[in-house]
């Protein structure tokens, strides 16, 4: 598990040795250079972010005079006007879609993964390969049929339309991660539970799932960020602004505010807060969730 790799990462064991053979001034110079480079990249990474946040506090006039200067006072007017727009609706929609999708993804993929890891049945390997193949499928090839399908089902232009495709496309990677993890859990505990008369579902629910919490968290975080950012399905399946998720909503506000750069930046800043907060609160978990998810594909 890469979780372990990340855990060691926090201890910061550097692979580059303290080079004892080098004269002291060369070591110092190398350290100094490292810090200079670190600062340079910090500037590259954060100039856009500072620009975004600072501009959000400015008036249009202030912004036009100088995009670099600090705001003369920390006004919240722009944020207030974003909050008075449909922004809260977009936020709620995103929370619902992401929440429901992630719950379903975790539930369905852990059930399927349990079957793959622990049960014997005809067609196991073909089914597993069929699901894994989904990791290579570009979303675009399914867009038109899914668009037609949601119209048939009568869910087009509502956030319900997004849940099916979000869950469907998240399953391959999630099933894969969980199958791998379940297979590593010692069988003895489950055997004991079965002897005590637990049904397969009880064994799965009471014994295996609690033991798999780290893997479930990885799957949940990876898909949470995926669903939160999802843009293509949302733009195909939603039409009316009241149904928009946050990504579509931000685009809508961008179109609405246009040359009012500070207002746009306030919207974008508010829109970025949830994921950045998530990262700040659960740093290691988010980082390992994202990379573990990616490494499996």
């Amino acid at each position: 598990m890469s979780t372990r790799g990340m855990a060691t990462a926090t201890v910061q064991v550097g692979p580059t040795p303290r080079v004892s053979r080098w004269p002291i001034w060369r070591q110092r110079l190398s350290t100094l250079m490292s810090y200079v480079l670190a600062l340079v990249w910090f500037v590259v990474a954060f100039t856009p972010i500072f620009f975004m946040v600072l501009t959000a506090f400015k008036t249009i006039r202030e912004f036009l005079i100088s995009p670099w200067a600090l705001p003369s006072q920390w006004r919240l007017t722009n944020f207030a006007s974003v909050w008075a727009s449909r922004f809260p609706t977009y936020l709620t929609n995103s929370l619902i879609v992401t929440g429901v999708s992630v719950l379903l993804i975790v539930a369905l993929s852990s059930l399927a993964a349990y079957a793959f890891a622990r049960m014997a049945f005809p067609g196991k390997r073909p089914f597993f390969l069929l699901i894994l193949a989904g990791m290579m499928i570009p979303i675009h090839i399914t867009l038109i049929p899914v668009y037609i399908l949601t119209q048939w089902m009568g869910v087009y232009d509502s956030i319900l339309a997004l849940i099916g495709p979000y869950v469907g496309f998240a399953l391959p990677i999630s099933v894969f991660i969980l199958t791998e993890f379940f297979a590593q859990i010692p069988k003895e505990l489950e055997d004991a539970a079965r002897i005590d008369g637990c049904t397969p579902f009880q064994t799965f629910y009471r014994i295996t799932l609690p033991l798999a919490t780290p893997a479930l968290a990885t799957v949940a975080i990876y898909n949470l960020i995926g669903a939160w950012n999802e843009f293509i399905f949302a733009s195909v399946l939603l039409q009316s602004p009241d149904a928009f998720t946050l990504p579509l909503g931000l685009r809508q506000l961008f179109g609405q505010y246009g040359i009012d750069t500070p207002a746009v930046m306030a919207a974008v800043t508010l829109g970025s807060l949830p994921t950045i907060l998530l990262f700040i609160l659960f740093q290691e978990k988010v980082v390992s969730g994202l990379t573990a998810g990616a490494l499996r594909s």
């Binding site: 060691t8 990462a9 910061q12 064991v13 550097g14 692979p15 580059t16 040795p17 004892s20 053979r21 080098w22 490292s34 810090y35 480079l37 990249w41 910090f42 856009p48 620009f51 995009p67 670099w68 539930a107 369905l108 399927a112 049960m119 014997a120 049945f121 089914f127 699901i131 989904g134 499928i137 570009p138 979303i139 675009h140 090839i141 399914t142 867009l143 038109i144 049929p145 668009y147 037609i148 399908l149 099916g164 495709p165 869950v167 469907g168 496309f169 399953l171 397969p200 579902f201 939160w228 843009f231 293509i232 946050l246 990504p247 970025s272 950045i276 990262f279 990379t291 990616a294 594909s297």
Partner: protein, 297 residues
């Protein structure tokens, strides 16, 4: 004897019951739509009217001579190459920097990851303002530095549109690959460097003969991830340039999207989707085969 068979039977049914919910969603929203896309690609159909005319392979024949589509294919390949060239070296350099074991690098590691946590749509909108020809941060900066001749309408000019988005993508994805490389670097045993330094291999030599060979697997994974992602890329191009101006930054995915959902040519759009799927499949399996082959040397 009979009861054993019956028990195995019921265990198998139980396995299918575990598998069924995931399989149903997967077949409905991923596998089914792929097949339906292939079917739609044989029709001339607007998607709105119920009238669809069967045209056989005509859509594909027309696609062969479709300049915009082939321009898009070229752009996808260019994007693939540029992404790897812009993202991997910086990501690796930063990973080396933050694993050096210097004080304060933990802060930089966290800080560097923040851009990756900004939602893609927010990144796209933010960078539209950075690249803005009149009020944009970039032209403003060039002006301050006296480089007026370098100022341009980054996203609005055919010569620079694609490269401008490549720059934004680098800003978004370098942190991600940095973390992948960092996890691998931390896994290299410290003893190797100690042994090497006794033999006089330090600094660049140690990097060349220890770090790089041990990092090969991770670099390969990162390159594969990046190229698979580039071949189906959509988000920032669609948000920032819509594939324009004059198709200068068109990608297969944006072209498909526009054909199907702006012009409502669902049949032709499906053909574009199927074709881009095939191209992506062929290119990535060729490259995968190639890298796999080289790894065995």
């Amino acid at each position: 004897m009979r009861s054993a068979v019956a028990r195995r039977r019921s265990a198998q049914w139980m396995a299918y019951a575990f598998l069924l919910p995931a399989l149903a969603v997967y077949l409905t929203f991923v596998v089914g739509p792929i097949l339906v896309s292939m079917y739609y690609s044989l029709f001339d159909w607007s998607g709105v009217s119920p009238r669809a005319t069967y045209v056989g392979l005509q859509n594909f024949a027309r696609l062969m001579g479709d300049r915009v589509f082939w321009k898009a294919v070229g752009n996808n390949l260019e994007l693939m190459l540029l992404s790897i060239l812009t993202q991997m070296p910086f990501a690796l350099a930063l990973a080396l920097l933050i694993t050096k074991g210097l004080r304060g690098m933990r802060f930089f590691r966290t800080a560097y990851f923040v851009p990756h946590m900004v939602p893609t749509v927010a990144i796209g909108i933010l960078w539209i303002y950075i690249y803005d020809p009149t009020m944009g941060l970039l032209n403003n900066l060039l002006g301050e530095l006296g480089l007026w001749r370098w100022q341009r309408g980054w996203l609005g000019e055919e010569a620079t549109a694609l490269y401008a988005v490549v720059g934004t993508m680098a800003w978004q994805f370098i942190p991600f690959y940095m973390i992948l490389f960092q996890a691998a670097l931390v896994g290299i045993p410290q003893e190797l460097y100690e042994a090497a330094s006794i033999d006089g291999a330090t600094g660049t030599k140690a990097f060349r003969y220890i770090t790089l060979p041990l990092l090969k697997g991770t670099i390969r994974t990162a390159v594969v991830l990046s190229l698979v992602g580039s071949l189906k890329y959509f988000d920032l191009i669609y948000i920032m340039t819509m594939g324009g101006p004059n198709h200068a930054s068109e990608l297969m995915a944006t072209y498909m999207f526009k054909t199907a959902f702006n012009q409502f040519r669902m049949g032709y759009g499906s053909a574009v989707a199927v074709m881009s799927f095939l191209i992506a499949f062929v290119v990535s399996s060729t490259l995968l085969y190639f890298t796999q082959f080289r790894r065995e040397d």
